[in-house]
Symmetry: C2
Subunit: 187 residues, 2 copies
């Protein structure tokens, strides 16, 4: 079997789009940065938009897998796992390649809510929320949905503050807030 060129395109394009932005990355730059010919790209994908969608699918898979496994590795109980989300965020923010959430940026560049790219970004957040909710059901009995929505708000807010804010450690702030909220919901 030949090494899968399509996957290679998606893998490399992901890095370029994440680092450079979507509109700001032209196909010529994509060719230069990935070292893959334009002919090859358009043999596997109809349009630039299709490439973007494929990178977002890969990013969704990579990020959710990483986060889920990370919080499982760091914590034993469901409650500790919910809090470990913010420890994982802290690790993410510290990575040198950290450039914010790719889906927030995608939905910022493609704003119409019925646009495929926007819809797919929203889907990523929905899947994350579903996973958190499953865990939250083990932690509290009354209104785990509200707690989950609030934890999502903390997570997204921490990401924004990590990109734009002046706070040293938004993940730690968010985690201590999460501790308070979980305690309040449990009481």
């Amino acid at each position: 079997m030949r090494p899968n060129k399509r996957d290679e395109i998606v893998r490399k394009a992901l890095e370029v789009f994440y680092h450079n932005g979507f509109h700001a990355t032209g196909m010529d730059l994509l060719v230069k940065e990935t070292g893959i010919s334009k002919t090859s790209m358009y043999r596997h994908f109809r349009t630039k938009e299709d490439i973007i969608l494929a990178t977002l699918r890969l990013r969704d898979e990579n990020f959710r897998n990483w986060l889920y496994r990370r919080i499982e590795a760091m914590a034993d109980t469901p409650k500790e796992q919910l809090l470990a989300v913010f420890d994982a965020l802290e690790e993410w923010f510290a990575k040198p390649e950290f450039r914010g959430c790719m889906f927030i940026k995608a939905s910022a560049e493609f704003q119409e809510s019925d646009h495929p790219i926007h819809a797919q970004s929203a889907e990523h957040k929905r899947l994350l929320g579903d996973h958190f909710l499953k865990i939250a059901r083990f932690v509290i009995a009354r209104d785990p949905e509200e707690l989950t929505r609030q934890l999502m708000i903390l997570k997204e807010g921490a990401i924004i503050m990590a990109v734009m804010g002046h706070s040293d450690n938004p993940a730690r702030d968010a985690k201590s807030a999460a501790e308070t909220l979980i305690a309040a919901h449990s009481g």
Copy 2:
């Protein structure tokens, strides 16, 4: 005095950039949407980037003035004012022209942290945080800085969830979280 054309450009360009995005808005579209000639724009501004920066300055002024006055009108005590931020957010999210936070979008499209547009967006968040901190000092004595950072996280997170999320009312979720946090910090 002639009516100030420069201000008119900034006012109208603000709407177009906010609705359409920065990279996605070309100068020709800007001319069409604003009804102002390209010659006139380049007489008042050297580059498109200068126009963007001017729109962000106006947006910062408009938004902060609106928010500050709104929470003053809605609440008497400092604690109620901090919570009224989220009532104001709810009003904002409900506006038909709501398209998320212009500064989050700007910093998503211009990612380099030393880019003037990115820096100006971060400055907006800093000014907001400073204002919240002044109020928070009246509410709690111990670590108002941390509470402020957490409220900022809630605010930014609520905006993201309003744009991408599936929750009905992220502002309400954020507000109830803020109530819990303030109570915890006060106790």
